[in-house]
Symmetry: C4
């Protein structure tokens, strides 16, 4: 029984370190996608059954991280693991500025993972319609990749205005999470996007769909087409 | 003789597992090309002499698959191999929604492999001419990469309208396969494209040519040029 | 002395096999650059001191080749090495359709390597000015990467019309090699480009500069700017 | 004490060779970003405490370098390490033409690393406004990645005119370093950009931000939007 429980401890620890390594690996992938260049962007994974939350560090090259670079928080926001200090020119470790925003999203949604991207397409899609309060698109197959949405549905993603500091976004994020109860993404004007899902797989694959749709919307806009309403010929609008 | 036939069995099994691994590897490649992001897209390979058909799973990250993730069907559509269940957050294995479409294409064409891509260029090329019933292009060297076509030929690929579910496309795919007996590709509006060939090499290399031509057509459209008829200066039209 | 000469033979053979492997490796690189997709494009390297010429095969996936896939010709065009036949679905080995064009370029120029690319930018740059007989650009730093050219020079690359078969281009290539004695590149309308240099390094790095300049020209054209004459503000024209 | 000091020597040497290898590795990365194609571009790292400066060679494929290819200079510009001569077709080693420009930047700024990029976006961003004396952008999250800048700030980067030889840029670079005391980047018209930081990390991550912003500016220009002043809707200008 003693050895059984010790073995249980081992597997718990391994789940944490494996997840830390996974976040590092995924960030390397997101870098190649152009989502986290220049140390921008962030990621978090929540280990529900362990009451732990992994977060990427701030100001660190996202494509050169290892498991060791990750912060691990308890559910109450207190520190569980702090990364070791690295030699100069590396800066002392600092948790992502998205920390309070990630905690708010976890509080208000049943998310298992959150991705914050600075992708050009997430940024530009808010600039081509500078007064819009949300991003809308319909009749694109990739909409089916977003939870609870079909091809004929109109996907609506709230856009909030940017602020000087990431932490200042907390009020507007809280508001849109209340105002848009179905949304699992929030776009920040001239900045990027937050996307979440019940697991890292759900967050990542939906993030790929959102970025695809942002990119399509910009390209359609450039081709002089309106992508937010189903007016593109002989296609049937859903009831 | 007994050992000879056993050895034959071994090579048959190895051909199946090698082909399963090849499909996983190729999907990783297609992901880098932007054809299968967000779990989108699919691939199938037919092993004629064994009467078996390999299909990718549904809703799985196409760039992170291994041979084990593949479905293998008998020619009559019954299951030969079902992938093992993976731990959460992976979903229980489910065969590609393209399954009935793939079977229909195998039935009506002598194909050895089929690729279904969600590439942006395959999607946008149908949106710039929302009422068009087919994609047309001529006088591009890459047309020579499509079976039975030369540089001066007009390549014609049928476009069908999209539907809420992949399976609902079966009637319109059947119709265009009959109406366009030479075509080895079908574009689905606001969705993507199906491309096939007598082998995985033929399907993949023709898919590369089709995506190149779609991309060129969009870029030419953006430059204000008409790419569907040979009106670009002193070039000779084939008889 | 006998062992010395045998050792000499060994190094000669090794140079050939190393060069065959290098061409395969470089083609994998060119594939990532978008120069040789869909089995398109080709490459050749000349081993002057051995009197041998390496050529890529026709209709083969350029990113999946190994040294074994290469053809090796003697200076008179006769076969020195023919690649082994591979199992289906691979086709029987066939030398590049560029073979006569490569031999003509080697005959008329002191080239050590030739690259034939199907890159989108090489194709489109001929389509935006369908009646132009040459591509012209000036006042771009990357022009300095082309042999014998400075920043203030006007780079001029002849454009020939495409034909149904690669071999039919031989007359027009011969003509422009005579008419443009300084050029180390020929663009083929709606098709691609041939680029050569005294070594594989010279051919590859100049090819990168040409592709960069083609891409810039298309983007400038799209931005409504004329890139062929130095009219972009307070810049000094060379004497 | 003797063995202690010898061990100190060892670590000094290892720091130099490690940094040489790092520059080679980073240049491979920059190549993939499109910053150093066709042997273009350059990089330098300064080892302050050792009084040494690493510089990339001239006319060498930046993605195929190893530590051995680097030049190492003393603070006074004299040679500390010269790379070994390689067999033909490699050229004899020659230090980057940026050498005097790098030395001037080190002299006038407290830089630990400098990157010189030929990226298309750095080139085009000077061409869309051919008479502009600087590049300006504001209200983009990625501006926060540039030292001393916030989201509401206007980032201003001086643009100098290009010259026939890299060395001829020294006067105009000196002038703008004096005229723009805050800048850690200088754009060269129709050529590229110089970017520096207190360490290789700072130089690289800021370079990523600058390239992102150049790219955004071109895309916004193409969409008919002015990116240099905060006129994009309900956004607050900083005091």
């Amino acid at each position: 029984m003693d050895s059984h429980s010790k073995s249980g401890q081992f597997w718990k620890i391994k789940q944490v370190t494996d997840s830390m390594a996974l976040v590092a690996e995924l960030c390397g992938h997101f870098y190649k996608m152009g989502w986290v260049s220049g140390t921008g962007g962030a990621m978090s994974v929540r280990l529900h059954h362990l009451g732990l939350i992994i977060m990427t560090p701030s100001g660190v090259q996202k494509e050169r991280m290892t498991a060791e670079d990750m912060f691990v928080k308890c559910s109450d926001g207190s520190d569980f693991i702090i990364p070791p200090v690295k030699a100069s020119p590396h800066k002392p470790p600092k948790c992502s500025d998205c920390n309070p925003l990630f905690m708010k999203i976890y509080e208000m949604r049943n998310a298992g993972a959150i991705i914050h991207s600075h992708a050009m397409e997430a940024c530009l899609v808010t600039m081509i319609r500078p007064l819009s309060k949300d991003f809308r698109i319909t009749h694109m197959e990739m909409i089916k990749g977003i939870e609870g949405h079909g091809y004929y549905d109109e996907l609506i993603v709230p856009i909030i205005e940017n602020a000087a500091q990431e932490g200042e976004l907390i009020n507007s994020i809280t508001e849109v999470l209340e105002a848009y109860p179905r949304t699992n993404a929030v776009v920040v004007r001239n900045h990027g996007v937050f996307i979440w899902g019940e697991s890292w797989i759900s967050a990542k694959t939906q993030a790929e769909c959102y970025h695809y749709l942002f990119d399509a919307a910009i390209k359609l806009h450039q081709l002089g087409m309106d992508w937010s309403t189903p007016s593109h010929g002989p296609i049937k609008r859903s009831s």
